[in-house]
Homo-oligomer: 280 residues x 2
């Protein structure tokens, strides 16, 4: 089949590579509002051909929207207006509720499968695209009851061929869970980077001591604001909810440290160690 | 030379391996209050021999204290009381100020070199010891003016042979910098793990979606409370200082999100992206 990837950055580019490599698509068309990204994606062999959206829609089987979620709000309804019988649209957006509400009543809603692969890195653009980004990762498919059977089947087959693990959720569940498992990690990293950069400015020499633990905790602070501001906007209520809880936990640590209640700090750390069961 | 490692866990065990492998020591004696750790360290070939502290002190050239910083407070003065001419004592503790104040007036202060290798993992015990943990890592040597020339020279030679990069600091600087570059990362991870574990309990299914970004941010929450509570205790003022600043940054994000001031959030994320210059 022919696949079109709209947005040839980290996720779209990596998906284009995998679709070809795993034999899901024989030909991948790239569409991007950035001419530079598109040229680079072609140069790197990530896409077979670049085209306008209109030209791609003339002959593609699958359309994957791999753009920030604010762009999705504009482009998804336009593509759903133009989609032909048999064509399938998929997104890879990190938030789902607002988008699915927006297209809920669309006559071509059935052609759309809402997807969120839980994979990525802190880098962006076609240069960031890598082989096997999705292998053994989880993909969330949302509100699949509203997708046509054949559309869902195409995506489920694709997911199998990409060797991904599928989780089905409704949009509300998805947005709540990702706030806890992904969005808060980014806010924490951004805030921690700001904290340390500020101190470095006052004090200097801080980064001479940066080691693996620090790097691990702040690496997400390299992530693009173009991607993340729209996510925080779309998932504002859930993000505020988890942010409040996280601040509460930090305040608690602070109070315990002020009161020198080391026994309780010990117990809290022991409790947090239970995360071992979840992480490999 | 003969080296004695007191504490055969992650750091002491890894150091024992490297001392032998790089030819710094021909024989490594292990001392540990846990008989199980000591037996395991010998079984794994990390140490050549186990001994009591007293027996080891009879014939060792170098004594490395690789135990939590609260244990160091008790044991370091005792060992300084017993140290023989020519013997050198080194620690690997994550805090320095309290310990160096404690031994400031000791007649054998010159035999001690205060060191902190900026290397580790979230695991502990002899099983966690690994080859090359220290290669290309930074080691901080503190208040070296108070160490005897020959003692410092032995440690500097060792550090060279381990292929580490040396940074010299006074104890106050060290404790301030590590609060920002290491201790706060651990508090954040512990608090984030508690936040998510709490929500998981209420909500379930959260961890189905855990991916690399989450794992990276919370992996330090697997760290041992036996090591970390004493560090927070010793470095309480600096940790409180950075924790306050971090909470302030998170509160700012929260307020901006409440007010839907996405332009300012965008600018803050851009600013935090400057961490790219520091991280590889």
């Amino acid at each position: 089949m022919i696949a079109t990837v709209i947005g040839t950055g980290l996720i779209g580019g990596s998906l284009a590579i995998s679709l070809k490599e795993k034999g899901v698509a024989q030909h991948v068309i790239g569409v991007d509002q950035s001419a530079a990204h598109l040229a680079r994606a072609k140069e790197l062999g990530i896409i077979d051909e670049d085209a306008t959206l209109e030209a791609a829609l003339e002959r593609t089987d699958l359309i994957v929207l791999a753009i920030p979620v604010d762009g999705l709000l504009k482009l998804l309804p336009q593509i759903m207006d133009k989609v032909k019988p048999g064509q399938v649209i998929m997104d890879v957006g990190s938030t789902k509720n607002i988008i699915l509400q927006l297209v809920a009543g669309h006559p071509n809603r059935g052609r759309f499968v809402a997807a969120h692969p839980m994979a990525g890195t802190e880098y962006s653009g076609p240069e960031a695209a890598v082989k096997n980004l999705f292998t053994n990762k989880t993909i969330v498919l949302c509100d699949v009851k509203n997708s046509d059977d054949d559309a869902l089947e195409m995506i489920e087959n694709m997911v199998d061929q990409l060797q991904m693990r599928t989780v089905y959720m409704n949009a509300e569940e998805h947005d709540l869970h990702t706030a806890y498992i992904s969005h808060i990690s980014h806010i924490t990293s951004f805030a921690l980077a700001l904290t340390v950069l500020k101190k470095e400015k006052e004090q200097g020499r801080i980064f001479e001591l940066a080691s693996g633990g620090f790097e691990s905790t702040v690496r997400l602070a390299k992530s693009s604001p173009d991607m993340w501001v729209p996510i925080f906007k779309h998932n504002r209520n859930n993000v505020l909810d988890v942010l409040e809880e996280h601040i509460h936990q930090l305040e608690q640590m602070k109070t315990l440290l002020e009161e020198e209640d080391y026994d309780t700090i010990y117990k809290l750390i022991q409790k947090s160690n239970k995360i071992r069961k979840i992480l490999k």
